[in-house]
Amino acid sequence: MNLIIKLFFSFIQVGLFSVGGGYAAIPLIQNQIVYTHQLMTMEEFTDLITIAEMTPGPISINSATFVGTRLAGIPGAIICTVGCIIPAFIICLTLAHFYYKYRSFSGVQTVLSALRPAVVALIASAGMSILLLGLFQADKNSIVFSDFRIVEFLLFLGAFFILRRFKVSAIKIIFGTGVVGTLIYTFLPIAL
């Protein structure tokens, strides 16, 4: 029981102080779980990051669930995730309330209009990073051009063409490229 309470408060802190997405949460979790409370070894923690990155879903939720399950089973997983979400829930609810209250004011619109192009750029940058990761299997700062993967490139072009041409849902496209790509690599003599 003591462990559950400890986990809960650790992850409330993680949720509260991880501003700016998943990767900001990793050092915080490391600090809480590996150093402060010594609930996991560094090796286990590295495994956790690998899994959290490989699987769908937000990295901080993934790691909260993984730590919780490892240390206290299903109740642990639920407690950690809830702890991680609570601060975000309260803060975003407050911000959303004020946004919808004041968003119709023309002054607020002027300020928000300057923000929107930046958000488009941030999304574009995330898209570029993930495309390079897919095409070269390397982070954008450590790309080797001879590692270029033609299969992934063709899959990307095909998926993009289908999206522009027809109204297809994103899930179908992502799942589709997964299936087609896996079949190509499994049945054609191309090394992954």
């Binding site: 991880s18 899994i51 750029a121 990307f156």
Partner: protein
Amino acid sequence: MNEKKKIESVQKILWQLFCATFTLSAFTFGGGFVIVSLMKKKFVEELMWFDEDEMLDITAIAQSSPGPIPINASVIIGYRMHGVLGSFVAVLGTAIPPMVIISIISVFYEQFRANRIIATALQVMRAGVAAVIFDVVMNLAKNVCATRRILYIALMFISFVATFFFDVSAMLIILSCLGIGIIDLLHNLYIEKRSANS
């Protein structure tokens, strides 16, 4: 009779909200901005619940608040559709898939990591995810250009170069553009006041 219809439509919206956040969360790899572009496609283009500008505002708020971006965005979208209850439903939809998947994987971790088919599928899916983001970005960028304001188009290009090539944090970019927006507003007010006086 009317009351009953109203309850039914609320239930329908909550159910759609749950299904949408659930499936998006189950298929989103790698980072908050990925799920945001999927949300844009789902909520703006498919369900037409709100417009593109609102989605971009939601993204900016989600990015600047603490906590995971997908959860933050779900809270705001849920609140928009049906208040606190909506937020609760949307967050539940977003949180359940990773919880279930990770709980299962943490038991079969060794097998999972060694499985070649899973590794291949996860690798090739990135091409699909990138295609979805590029599709969304094309539409968004077109609309920024359609404002025909040099300021907005320049902000978009400068922000992209800053974040992609120079690794400037998203937080800093959003705060800078917020500052520029405030200056722009003050400038407008100043011009209005001066033309009102003359």
